[in-house]
Amino acid sequence: MFALEIRSVSKKFDGFYAVKNFSLSIPQSSIYGILGPNGAGKTTTIRMIMNILVPDEGEILIFNQKMNETLKNRIGYLPEERGLYRKMKVCEILSYFGELKGMSRSEISKKIDEWLSKVELLEWKNRKIEELSKGMQQKIQFISTILHSPDLIIFDEPFAGLDPINTNLLKDIMLELKKQGKTILYSTHLMEHAEKLSDYVALINKGQKVLDGKLSEIKAKFGKNLVLEFEGDNSFLNQIKGIRRIYNFGRYVEIELEKETDPQDILKTVVNKVKLTKFEVAEPSLNDIFIRVVGEERK
């Protein structure tokens, strides 16, 4: 069962495709990352999921339904551009957002206390937003997104502008929510975050999906990377077979291997040529994969 299904969705702005023929299926209780550079169409896609923008073509199903007002109560959304009412008190603003999600008053006050103490802001409950630091305001924004225990949570660029402490806090929250069986969709242009967090990823570039699937499977598909550190002449590199690409930094080299290449064979060759100080077989980073896929498309 999918929590969210996007079926061949397209959106044009002034004749230009912001998103083109985009499909995605997000399994329940997973963390799904939409990755891509700025302007790739991530926000447009998310806004279409939230029904803030209406797709020109295709359809989007959330828990097998088209977006409707009751469904909104089961969704938590943190937009890329986010703010709070500066003049309102922390508890007032959280209650307002909670009420708009159809929560009861007693439930709201219980949850507010629960979350505020979790992020260590309980003593700020009756202070105005404008008195809070930026980091504190970000915490309030997280809480407002998940206060109503939504089944599907959508974060648009959640890590942008966060300090390291809040970054970790948000990661913890996301993992915790997953454990509770919630489904999380988030977008980012920072691949490192996606690497550690996501079960599934979709890479998107210029409005089109270039790759998607389970993170572990994607990585397996892209073969292994070899990292070498050595003393001596590096001319031997030309003789090695089964290599896709070499990133040469002199005495430090990163090698992308063809899928069928066995790192053992390379080790045998190299040992005879130079004095190795490091030999590591690693999975390619998402960043490498992205550059590889987009680069190949250009060719």
């Binding site: 029904n51 803030i52 703010g83 009412y85 309102m88 009420e99």
Partner: protein, 418 residues
């Protein structure tokens, strides 16, 4: 109902503000001043004594004139202090010149020349710096005429008692007809009362309309809109704001009405004879109806402006023409009070943008035919529905747009979006 939640929040945000409390309390004082000042001016006249030199070349009118110009000020002093200046045909020019200097130096307020042939030609000359003081001129003219009449009648041998009886003046009492009932009222208090109510209507519509505009701008700039849209939709958001903020306006009006009723009871108890502006219940009901309709009409426009602009400055610029539209009824206010069924007031009262003020003026002065009032109200309701529909479309796109203000062409495109 999420709409109710939004209404509640917007309503409480305004009502809890200090500025709301202050304006709610201060306006009744201004309102009180509007009610009391005409009474005050009516009772404590600003009139001062006028010193007038009189050259009476007939030699017989002056004694009668003094008797006829005997109106007294509130202080008991006569309004006109008349001083006879004796002269003859030879010296008259010199005398006139010296009197002119005296008027210039403000020793006299004016001088009056009654020529020898006045009885035949009925012409006299009045020299003053201010010749537009109609009341004075009218009074002197009547007094001179009466004096001549008395002299002529005396010559004919009519008895003094008879003359007095003949010359007794008829006083016109002004009585306003309201639905067959008769009510004492003066034009002045009527006019002031009405202008006051219309200003209040104008102020409330403009003030609360602007509040909506600023509220939307604030939410746009604070980047809250998208969060709200994940819980509700743009139509509910817009209507929630309009209704919530409008309800704050109605709350303020109700508080004022209550204070007004208390004040009215107090005043009529304290000054039972004074001429107070009496707003009848129909006036108050129409006031509320036209406030609500007018508010919705202008609020939707202000909401659209808030949605398509990004700064206060930009918004004010776009809002300026709307302010003018609200001012126009004041320009034709005098015309409307003089002749509420005149062609211009009637036409304006059917243009929905002016209906709240112009039709309200007409309704409170006369009772226009029922179908006319209903027609104007239905026309307004239709316009409001059309504007709400249009604005909802513009609002939906506009609240998520930052940067350049859209052109008219782009707005049309927004309206066509599905």
């Amino acid at each position: 109902m999420k709409l109710v939640k939004i209404i509640k929040k917007e309503y409480l945000t305004i009502v809890k503000k200090k500025s709301f409390l202050i304006s709610t309390l201060i306006t009744p004082f201004i309102m009180g001043a509007f009610v009391f000042l005409p009474i005050f001016f009516a009772q404590v006249s600003m009139e001062t004594q006028k010193k007038i030199a009189v050259i009476d070349l007939t030699g017989q009118i002056f004694p009668e004139l003094i008797k006829n110009l005997n109106r007294k000020l509130k202080s008991g002093k006569p309004v006109y202090q008349l001083i006879q200046v004796r002269t003859d045909r030879k010296t008259i020019n010199k005398t006139k010149e010296s009197l002119r200097n005296k008027v210039e130096k403000k020793e006299y307020d004016a001088y009056l020349v009654l020529p020898e042939n006045i009885i035949k030609k009925r012409e006299a000359e009045y020299y003053a710096k201010n010749v537009s003081d109609y009341q004075t001129i009218e009074e002197i003219s009547i007094a001179v005429t009466d004096s001549i009449a008395k002299i002529l009648l005396q010559k004919e041998g009519v008895r003094l008692k008879k003359i007095k009886e003949v010359m007794k003046r008829v006083e016109l009492k002004t009585i306003k007809i309201v639905k067959g009932k008769e009510k004492k009222a003066g034009f002045l208090s009527e006019y002031f009362g009405l202008i006051f109510l219309v200003s209040l209507l104008f102020g409330l519509i403009l003030g609360y309309g602007m509040t909506i505009m600023r509220n939307i701008l604030e939410e746009k700039n604070a980047r809250i809109v998208e969060i709200l849209l994940s819980s509700t939709n743009s139509f509910e958001l817009m209507m929630g704001k309009i209704i919530g903020i409008g309800s704050a306006g109605i709350t303020q009006m109700l508080i004022w009405s209550l204070l007004g009723i208390v004040g009215f009871i107090y005043v009529s108890y304290q000054f039972p004879q004074s001429e107070i502006i009496i707003f009848n219940s129909a006036t108050i009901i129409f006031f509320i109806i036209f406030f609500i309709l007018g508010f919705f009409l202008y609020a939707t426009i202000f909401a659209a402006i808030g949605a398509i602009t990004n700064t206060d400055y930009e918004a004010q610029q776009l809002a300026a023409p709307i302010t003018w539209a609200l001012v126009i009824p004041f320009i034709i206010a005098i015309m409307t009070t003089r002749n509420p069924n005149g062609i211009i007031p009637v036409i304006f009262s059917f243009i929905p943008f002016f209906t709240p003020t112009v039709m309200f003026m007409r309704v409170s002065i006369i009772q226009p035919p029922f179908y006319e009032v209903m027609f104007s109200i239905i026309l307004m309701i239709l316009t409001v529905l059309l504007l709400v529909w249009l604005t909802a479309k513009i609002f939906r796109v506009g609240i998520l747009m930052y940067g350049k203000r859209p052109s008219f062409k782009e707005l049309l495109k927004w309206i066509k979006y599905k």
